[in-house]
Amino acid sequence: MIQFINVSKRYPGGQDALRGIDFELTESDMALLIGHSGAGKSTLLKLISVIERPTHGQILIGDRNLRSVKRRDIAPIRRQIGIIFQDHKLLNDRTVFDNVALSLIVAGVSYKESNKRVRAALDKVGLLKKENMMPVQLSGGEQQRVGIARAVVNRPAILLADEPTGNLDEALSDEIMDLFVEFNRIGTAVLIATHDLRQIDRLNKPVLILDHGKLTRNDLTLRETLVS
């Protein structure tokens, strides 16, 4: 699914954000990416979502190498990835339904199909009754669930989440994390960047620990065939 082969990223200022990262995340994997602030977690997620390009090494999603992917091929790759942000990134002038439907509109899904899938996604995150509300009328946890519904509605192969429970209380955090477990169970690869040590203990999933841009613990070791 996602393969990182000796990936490094250096920003124009000369700062090394990531150094020699190797791991592989398969369809059945759900992993937690841990590290202190500035360890390189966000950079790693940005590399997968082609917001940044690696300075060295290869990132493969299927048979595509993200280091050399052309500009016009970025959008189809991003459609395979559902991204959830700590600050939700919702459009405040559109209803909950329209925010979620946006993922399907950009993918060219028909209206009839969109309606069905948006309602199913909102039902899954428990917000079907609030489909006509505006994001500002929702609580932080509900806004996060709208973000999750938008990320999963297009049935992505990979789900990335950057601190999805950062501003939520324990009960809501558990609820959100359980949703990720459920999506992973139906065949979506999930990679979550988090600080939440309680969730790491609770979920008992493979862990990637980043420290100053280096992987110090890797439960998703790269397959031998790839290394060779």
Binding site: S49, A75, I81, V106, Y111, A151
Partner: protein
């Protein structure tokens, strides 16, 4: 969703977005409309002035006075020779006798003229240049050619003032074309700036759309529709302004025509002209948005 349905949705969404801010949309459309109506009105004025010139027997005529003693047969022979030239539309031979008859009739001096020992009037050829050769230069060249005829004693250009009038119209027409190009550029810059502001206002939305897999084409489309719609609305409003201005000018034009004894009526914007105006307005709007979008949209990338 098919390409057509997606475009239909984007077109309606873009129109709705414009209607959500009616005042600023009206202001923007008015600027475009005024800018488009100026060259339209100028062009209509030039067209009407040309028509007015034509209604005053606009095309110049050359009179070739033949030497005394030129026979009627030779006169008719010259008529046929000149008629064959491409730059000449029509030649009429007026014999000395015909000229005298005409003079008697028009002057009212019939009996007095009878007293003259011989006919003093020469035979002449009335030459009407072809419309493709009625410019000042071409007519002067033709005049020179006619002077080369052995029997020609004098060649006079009639209605020389029409040529001057046409030359002035040519200058005004050229100026109108240059001004039209400059105003078209102004329309492009105005709409381009509106689209730039729209892009800046929707920066966050564009970033999110790109993050969730919206292609460059998908992001670009609403802005292209917006530019097209502003141009189209501007052209429609410009046609109304043009009609209103022509209606207002109808009286003075009629009075001027009366002074020259003409029944000239000013022509307004034809269906074809309206079509051109709409095509130009919407085309310029689309061009402006393409330029603006290609310049500013690339800079907005998710961070």
């Amino acid at each position: 969703m098919s390409w057509f349905s997606q475009n239909k949705v984007e077109c309606i969404a873009s129109l709705t977005r414009l209607l959500q801010t009616p005042f600023s949309t009206f202001m923007s459309v008015s600027v475009v409309a005024i800018t488009l109506s100026l060259p339209t009105i100028m062009q209509l004025v030039v067209n009407n002035a040309e028509r007015l010139g034509q209604s005053w027997e606009g095309r110049p005529q050359l009179s070739v006075f033949l030497a005394p003693g030129t026979s009627v047969a030779r006169g008719l022979e010259l008529t046929l020779e000149l008629q064959a030239k491409p730059e000449i539309a029509q030649v009429e031979f007026v014999s000395a006798d015909q000229a005298m008859e005409e003079f008697k009739m028009l002057s009212g001096l019939g009996s007095a003229i009878e007293l003259l020992p011989e006919n003093p009037l020469p035979a002449s050829l009335l030459v009407l240049p072809d419309s493709a050769f009625d410019s000042a230069d071409a007519t002067a060249q033709l005049q020179e050619q006619l002077r080369q005829i052995a029997e020609a004693e004098d060649v006079q250009l009639d209605l020389e003032w029409i040529l001057r009038f046409n030359s002035m119209l040519d200058i005004i027409d050229s100026a109108a074309k240059v001004i039209s190009i400059l105003l078209a550029l102004a329309v492009v810059l105005t709409i381009s700036n509106m689209i730039r502001l729209a892009i800046i206002n929707r920066k966050e939305e564009i970033e999110i759309i790109k993050l969730i897999g919206g292609s460059d084409g998908f992001v670009r489309r609403p802005f292209l529709y917006q530019g097209f719609q502003i141009g189209l609305a501007g052209a429609l409003l410009a046609s109304l302004i043009t009609y209103a201005v022509l209606l207002w000018m109808k009286g003075p034009i009629g009075r001027l025509a009366d002074l020259y004894g003409s029944d000239f009526g000013a022509l307004g914007l034809s269906i074809q002209g309206l079509g051109w105006l709409i095509l130009t307005g919407s085309g310029l709007g689309l061009l402006a948005s393409v330029l603006s979008v290609s310049q500013h949209l690339r800079d907005i990338e998710p961070r």
